[in-house]
Amino acid sequence: MYSKKLGIIDLSKKKIKITRTSEALQKQFLGGRGLNSYYLYKMIKTDIDPFSPENIIIFGTGLLTGTLVPNSSRFNVSAKSPETGILGDSNCGGYFAAELRYAGFDRLIIHGKAPKPSYLYVSDGNIEIKEAKDYWGMDTTNVQQSLRHDLGHVEAAVCGVAGEKLVRFACVRTGVKNAAGRCGLGAVMGSKNLKAIAAKGTQGIEIVHPEEMLETVQELKDYIMNSKIISILGSVGTPLLYEVSNTLGAIRTKNSQLNAWSESLNAEVIETYVEKMISCSSCIVHCRHRNKLGGEGPEYTAVGLLGANLGLDNTANVIELNNICNELGLDISSSGTILSWAFELYEKSIIDQTLTEEPLQFGDFDLVKRLLHKISRREGFGNILAESTSNIKRFGKTAEDYLIAVKGLPQSDPHDCRYIKAFALGIATSSRGADHLRSRPTLEIFLHLPEEVKERIYGKGIPNDPTSYVGKEKTVYFSDNIFAAIDSLGICKFICHGFNSPHFVDYTWMKKLIHCATGWTFNEKNIQEVGKRIIDIERMFNNREGITRKNDTLPKRYFDDPMPLNIAKGHHIDRKEFDTLLSRYYKLRSWTPDGLVKKERINELESLQ
């Protein structure tokens, strides 16, 4: 049988139910993010506290995870987010997801709260709830190495000290730096007294058409490996994006007071700290840097948000901060955004030393380091910062004007979205808040891409001008849908059509890969429909929590402050233009003018079994 089991674990009652997801439901949502979102919608009651035992945390592998399919390493962790109070979901690579499938499970749904520190051990079709007393308090590397010492070569998804201490932007980590980083899912683990999930298994994934898979993958691999962008990603990784955005004048700098920063964080400088490029399971891109400072990374997000955004330009310092966040189990995107927000508020005297305990300033490496440690242990001012964006209540209404977040989620993309309008629409409408990995139509950044290439992907009537609002709803709509599909297949976005390149895994490739693995016959449109279904069910979850049109907006600064430097100088988001762009996006999605999923669609999706 191709599919693996579904484990439902009640930590309060120590009950484990082992079942399966029906094939009919898998065909509607594929797996990964899609099925996770379906289960969240079905199982979470409205208005629950994300830290209560009623919250559910799901670890779900993609439909193709763990197979020969290139870059099929991924899984999604999903829960109601303690950082935003809406849908929380984060996609992650590494080796854990593949191992979970070899251990016999596609997905674990966890609810309740363990009476004392615990972890789950998943091996060859079984799940055990075990005591984690000895692991509690350990950083993310230490706990994983200890689990390997005690259980053999397991792959584990863990929370760090930050998760235990319920820091609202604590991540789930696996390996040295792979993280389900966003939305504070590590803190949900902590709230359930769940330190780790360790998996080990020898059960293979039975492929329905093995020869067809061997042939298809060979073709796909040749196609991908011949691309220029992949060879660059394989040698320098994501930091290459820093220079692209910086030249444009779109690197968030000092809490977006500026929009360009130092060349000392360019990929060629980062590269001098790389010991070896390594891969996630099944990955042919190998964009992970094993750095010479004892960790892995930094990714572009860390370079931007722990570097430029905090006013730091020393490359080694930025890499060290990246490594610290990973060890403590803090989401880098939120950490860099929340700290820079606090720094600017202090500069503007909106908050003062009675709250912060010490002077805050940009460009102070030791200060950042100290604060990261304090946040992770909720000490002093760190205890306040650990509350993330909900500090608006504490810092006052004016503070909100300087916060670079949407729907309570600090923006992940170091890219300042005032210039490229499609990026702005993307972060405004993404189902988890200000995040670029839901729908960023990266191709907009390549200013010289021929118009016909873009038209072929997104449809007609889209001017080849990133600052134009015309037709940009189509680029976001396309990206939203296809990224939801690729997340559900368990394949990395790096080889997804339209993410980094106008080529790669499009719906036709997906169709072929699904067929060789499962034998299911899908056509391109069917898969696109899966993507649309996922976007809608995630919106239904958020609508139920009170999200409407008013929440699909942008940081005030993006509207009101024109960008000061480089090519992007003078650009900002026009409120009126943005508003009509949003209306056009809703229309494409068939949502109401207020951004609600329509009744008929709700009925249709609720009736799926």
Partner: protein
Amino acid sequence: MKRLYVYPEKCTGCRECSLACSLTKFGECNPKKAAISVVRDEFNRYELPIICYQCDDPVCHKFCHQNAYFIKDGVVLHNEDKCVGCRLCAVLCPYNAITTLNSEIIKCDLCDGDPQCVKYCSTQAIQYLEETDELEKRRKKMAEHFLAINKK
């Protein structure tokens, strides 16, 4: 003859080699059920593909009491029909190159001269090359190094 050579410095740990092997031989994706394995540990920072060297005087062949091993054109092959699954070969192999899962013995046969692991490796960390003195020297050095680590 042509042999498999590994370049650990190029190995990224992805295991496409093992997956291609298990898919070819068993129709499933299972890195633990393959004639090639990647020993990897991101915390201790290494990735090492473990392959069968097709030894000239292999212990698997020499000590098999069922005569389940034979050598054809320099390739050490395993005869499933004769094998009783005692796993002595796997225990004796100094290079850990024989995989056992349950009672199954999985032994590299070089895929009739077209090794799938080589085909699916995206970094040329495993290569199938005509034997030369230089390559052999490098291989022997690596083998000795591996044996030294294995003894610890």
